[in-house]
Structure formats: C-alpha cells, structure tokens
C-alpha cells in the first residue's frame, strides 16, 4: 500500500465505518436507477479515489477490464426493458415488431452498465483503503468465529499470489499456441478452460498448504481465546461519517421509495 493511501482520511477510519460506508453506497446505488445520477455518483467515487491517494492511472487500470462487462450489461439490458405505455419506438431489433428499442431501454442499459462499474469501484476503493488485518478485526467485533475471520483475511492476502499463479498459467498455455483473443464469446470462454482448471488445482493445493501452515503455527490451540495484537476503536470522525451516511441514505430512501424518484428516466424526463 502506498504512503499517500495510508495518510488518507478514508484509510484512517475504523474498518466498521468503512464497511457501513460500502453497504450504504451499494444500497444507494441500487435505489438510484437513473444513469445521469449514476454518473454523478461515479464522479463522487472517482473524487474519493483521488483524495485517498489513488492515481488516475490506477483507476484507469481497474476500469479497463470492466468496459467489456459494461458493454455486455448494456446489450443484455437495453432490448429487454419494458417500455412506457405509448412510448416512441425507434426501431425493432427483430422482424414482426419483436424487441422494440426505446429511450427507456437505452437508459436502462446505460444505467445498469454504469452501476456495475460503480459497484466495482466502491468495493475496490474500500478494500484498497482497508488493511487486511483491519478486516479480520472488524469481523471479530461482529462476532464472526475466528476460523472464518482469519480465513477471510488469508483470502485477501492471497489475491496477489493467485493472480501471479494465474498469469503463469496463461503464459504456459500461450506458449502452447492458445489464443485468448477470439471475438466469439463461446470460443473465448472455451479458450479459458485450460487456464481455469490448473488455476483451480493450484488454488486447492495452496489452500491445503496454508491450512497446514496455520495449524503448525498453533491456530487450532485455542482460537476463541487467541490474542489480537491490534485493536480497532471508533473515533469522532467515524461517528461523523456514519451520521452523514445514514442521513444521506434516509434522504435517498425517502425520495426513492416514498416519492418514486431516481427511476431510470428521472433526469431525462425532468430535462425533456
């Protein structure tokens, strides 16, 4: 983790505050269907990235592989959204007036694709600014059994190791003439089977190794009464953030559920 991230406001918050922040942002993301408002939230998430010491280049690196998923979300959503009664149909995708293309459909496709990117950004941002050890401590405070919390902590620590293993598998299969660049989605998925199988095998082997290693370090000695060297404590800034987030959540929930705002066409209809 770079020094700028470690000095950031988000990093300094209690991990439970960050978890709550993550949950509230996801709930708000679910309630706000409008693509324009989603863009506003994305701008907010991007600003949070930057003030947390994460560079534009890094955000770009995270976003690039999501673009394919964005296109898939768009394609799978826009033709199937239910149009409003008497809504103008731009054209039909198939003959016999099958699958009408409407503004509601286009906005739904965009909205869902953008929300997918937003959710990944939020989850990435919160995990980036939360040390793995803090996640374990937060889970312990939530009375999750130590077997589960330590397992989750180890899983986070192992992500870079598994990434490295998978990239070696990809290189090994490329060296055998494998082609992962096919434009045909079926062929593309099929091409990845020689990566997925060794990847799973290596993960299972590593899992066994880790299980034995932590047993050999006395993890099964008395897990319930083990010591946790580091402690987490709520500070004033945590209470402030929680209060603001809960208030924001209440406002969005009130207008969204109570008044029916923030639907797919909310801003479009206001502007129209």
């Amino acid at each position: 983790m770079n020094k700028a991230v470690e000095k950031s406001f988000l990093y300094s918050l209690d991990p439970r505050t960050k978890m709550l922040l993550l949950l509230i942002l996801i709930f708000v993301g679910v309630m706000v269907m409008d693509p324009f408002l989603t863009i506003v939230m994305m701008a907010g998430a991007y600003a949070m990235y930057r003030v947390s010491g994460i560079s534009h280049k890094e955000v770009k690196r995270i976003t690039k592989p999501l673009l394919l998923a964005f296109i898939l979300f768009f394609l799978l959503n826009f033709p199937f959204a239910t149009p409003l009664p008497n809504e103008q149909v731009f054209f039909y995708l198939l003959p016999n007036q099958t699958i009408p293309i409407t503004m509601t459909g286009i906005l739904t496709g965009f909205g869902n694709g953008l929300r997918f990117i937003l959710f990944i950004w939020i989850a990435d941002l919160i995990t980036t600014v939360t040390p793995t050890g803090d996640i374990v401590l937060a889970l312990n405070k939530a009375r999750i059994p130590p077997e589960a919390s330590i397992a989750i902590g180890i899983a986070f620590s192992y992500i870079p190791v598994l990434k490295k293993e998978i990239s070696t598998v990809i290189e090994a299969q490329k060296s055998r003439g494998a082609n992962f660049e096919s434009k045909n989605p079926y062929k593309k998925v099929k091409a990845y089977i020689p990566v997925i199988v060794p990847g799973l095998f290596i993960s299972i082997m590593k899992g066994r190794e880790i299980a034995r290693a932590i047993e050999a370090r006395g993890f099964t000695y008395d897990p319930v009464n083990r010591t946790y060297r580091n402690e987490i404590r709520f500070k004033g800034r945590d209470f402030a953030v929680i209060a603001i987030m809960l208030a924001a959540f209440a406002v969005v929930a009130y207008f969204s559920i109570g008044k029916g705002w923030f639907g797919t066409r909310f801003v479009y209809d206001l502007l129209a």
């Binding site: 050890g133 902590g153 620590s157 192992y158 090994a172 055998r176 003439g177 006395g218 099964t220 008395d222």
Partner: protein, 583 residues
Amino acid sequence: MGNELIRFDHVSYTYPGVDTPAVRDVSLSINEGEIVLITGPSGAGKTTLCSMLNRMIPESYGGEVKGTVSIKGADLSEYSVGQMAFISGMLFQDPSGQLTCPTVGDEIAFGPENRGLPVEEINALIDRYIGYVNMRHLIDRPPQALSGGQQQSVAYAAVLAMEPEIYILDEPTSNLDPLGSDLVFSLIKKVAGDKNKTAIIVEHKLEKIIDMVDRLVVMDKGRIVFDGKPEQVLTHYRELMEIGVAAPQIIQVFNRLKDAGKADLALTTNLAKAVAELSGALPGKLPQERLDTVGEGFPEPARYEKPVIEVRGLRFGYNSEVEVLHGIDMDIYEGEFLSIVGQNGSGKTTIVKHFNGLLKPTGGSVKVFGTETRDTTVAGLSQKVGYCFQNPDHQIFSSVVRDEICYGPKNLGWPQEKIDKTVGEVGKMLHIDDLFDQNPYNLSKGQRQQIAVAAILAMEPDVLIVDEPTTGQDPRQSHEMMDMVKWLNKELHKTIVVITHDMSIAAEYSDRIIVMHNGTVIAQGSPRDVFAQEKLLNSSNLESPQVTRLLQQAGITSPTAINVEEAMQLLSELTFETAGVHA
C-alpha cells in the same frame, strides 16, 4: 549433548488409501541440543517422520501410526496439533505457502497470538526475532512482496517467535535460489550455534548444511539406513549414491583418494578445512606439464556456429519506470545445450520469455530463425520455440494424458492424422505411451513433468526452453530429468536452453553457460571457461561446483576441473606427501 528429548520407538505409518507404509519400523533417539540432518531420496519418509513430531500426522492427514513417538518421555498421541505447535515448530518448503498475514510483523505475531500471550509479550517477541533475522526494516511490508529468501526468513522468524523446544526445518531451501538459500543457511547456522536448540533439518543439498550438523540420518524406503556422525556416514558415499543421495564433492574426492591408496586425508565436511588438508598434502612443486597434459584430455564441448536466436541490444522493462534488461547481446546456436544461470531477478527468465514472444523488447531486437519477434505472435513462435515451465501443474488441464499432449498441436491447426501420429511418436520416445488413457492428476509429479515436456515436444519445436527443471527435486530426480533433456539434444538434435541455479548440473550437461546478473550478461563460454572465473561468479553470488573450488583454492588453478572425475584424473598425477600414511 543433553538428555534424550525425542524418541521414535518402532514407529510405522501408512497414509490413508495406500498399501505401502511411508515409514517402516523406525527407532530413533535425539538428544537435547542436537542438530540432526535427515536426508534421503524423495519418498524416503523424511517429511512423514518429521510430521509425526507436531502431530500433523496422523491428525491432519489421517492414516495409521504404529509404535510410539515421545518427547521427554510423554507419548505424543495424548497431544493435539495445536499444543504440539508450541513444542515442535515446523518450517515448510515453500515460503509463499506458509505466509498468511498482511505484514511481516503480523506474520511473526501469528503464533504467539494463537497462544493467547499478552500483547506486550507478543510485541517483545516480534522485536527480538525480527532483529534475529535482520528484517526490522521490512516489518510493515506484505510478506508476499518479498524475495523467496526473505520470505523464508520471515517464516523462520515466525517459528522462532513461538519459542518451541524443537525446530523442524523441512527442506527450507529447496525452492530458493543460491542467494536465498545462503540467507536461510546463515540463519540455520545461527540457531545451530545456540546450544539450547534442538533442530531436525530435512535437506537434499548436503554441501551447504552438512558442516553445521552434529548427526546425519539417511532414510530410504521408509527406513533409516545410516545414522551417525556426518564424516562417518559419508564414508559410505558409494552406497549413498546408489539410493540417490549425493555426498559433498569434497567427501567423494577424499574417499576416492583413500580408496586408490593415494592419500589418507582427514575427512571433513567443511570446504576451508578440506582446502587446508589438501594443500598441506600436495607436493611443494606441482608437475604443471603433466597436469596440462591431463587437462588436454578433458572433454571439450562441441562448437556450434549457426545462430537460431539472435539478440541485439535488448532492453526491456515490465513498466516504463524500471528497466530489467539493459542492452543484451547474445546468440543461441542450432544444436547446442545452453544453460543460463543467475540469481532470481538477474533477468534470465525475462530474457527467455522473449525467445517465444511472451515478452516483446522495449528496445533492441530479438530474431528467431530470422523473424523479428515483434512481428509475430506467441502462437506463431510456439512451433519454433517450445517453453517447458518449471511446474507442470501450471499447464496440465485435461482429464486424459493423450488430450493434454494433443492440445498444442490442435492449437496449431494440424490435421487430426498428423496430430495422432506425432503424439504417438512422442509418447513412445518418452516411454509414456502406456499412460495415455490415464488422468494426469492421478500420476506422480515426475510423470506429470514428463507429460508437460511431451506436450511441448508434440508441437515439434526446434528450440526447447526448460525453466528450472531441477528445483525442489532430489539428486536422482534431477539427473533423470536432465538425462531426458540431454537425450532430446543429442538424439533429436533439439537446441536446448535450460534456466538453472544448480551449477553442478550446468557443469555436467551444458555445452555453454551464460551468466546473468542485474539484467546483463557478465560471462559466457564453456563450463570450464566460466567456472575458472571464481571471483566473477562470486560477484553475482554464484559459486562454481565445490570440487572446482577445492582444487583452485588448494593451488591447482590450471587446468580447471569441473567434476569429481576430472579432479581425480588431475590428483592421480600427483604424489602426496601423506600418501599411504593411514592407508
């Protein structure tokens, strides 16, 4: 030496689902403060024996134990793995597989935290043992971001922080490069020097460790076949060779001099002492002309002249900020057996990944059979250059061996008839055609490695890159693998490029060696030419074979002997001043 600490009394153990016992009727007693080295070929039962000391066997693995294992007279069957962890601390082979915490400090704290010690005591243990392994400056770093040697040092500190009575070190350097191994060996030496510690070390690399231990136990097929002081056990070097244990080269030379009635030198496992012993016995003036005549008879590798891979001014960086290769020039010649040696991070894997296009130069050029790698794809180059990765499990994915081998040729778009013919031929060549209908995951690691090589050979490449084929293998397995690669070179005329850390293997099999250091080539030539440059090798933390250093440091600087046979040829020309004294 103190009182008896560990006792195995007629112990046998069989893994679940297996008929043959892994350990058979072993009786062994180890005293407090003893440093014991257990060696033997893979599958001899060394790790199994050690795993009984922390109750991993049978608690984690299942299976049936017969006999009694006790520590200080207490039968271990009464204890759990959790309790035993603080009595018998175990360091495993693979450093990355045992580091589970986000920072180095957390890693060292993990064991004491599990014991439920107060925070102040845990912090004191971290402070003591992070200093012990000289890694205080890395305390907040994620262990996964460290080098292999550093990772193993952290894992070692984590075991030390549990302050167990017994340290079990299970092949702690088998996955490390020479620099990482040296780092870990220096820590083992530190523990060995502490009189209160009892340590059991399982290791194949005897040369580096033998000098630190009090006792050598050799296992084979689940039994203890030798047990005693290292020098005494190593006099049986021929029997040890037969079961796949390579005695240090200095021991082999001294024993052979004695057997030949040339000189009865005091056996020692320490190179410096061996050099002193040998130089003390050498005649005052060496018969240089006779030695040169013997040297002229040493085999010289064939010279190859037709380049198949041409590297010119190659520069490369994984990102724009850090350059890894700094303007490399090299040629790979048709039909040669080339070894590229160097520490981790020297750039040897990075450069060979340019040979099949996995990496493209950021500066300079790489031409394979005249084609710029920039202008072609990995798939296109895979027909010319095959790349065998170190771990076969990185490539095996089929449920049937035949399908696994067919994968490459299918990717090349060959007609089915040609695929069947080639795959059948490769299977016969490597004697694995009887495994074709089996599931590769049910086979041994050695067989999986053969399948991985067969899968590459089936694509009929002219050049074969083999990445660290001997890492983690015992001497016999290493030689079997390298014999196969040599056969491909000699009989099928494949050009071979091997990446290795093992200098004895490089000396034995290569026509030519390239030494890399910090992204540059610092030496290249025949093994004899390269190993004659001891200072240069030392500057990149590499060492020539032990026998080469023995003769050079004892004063026989020319000609350069690169294996025990050559050393014996030179030494047999000399009249020793102690000849026959003890014979």
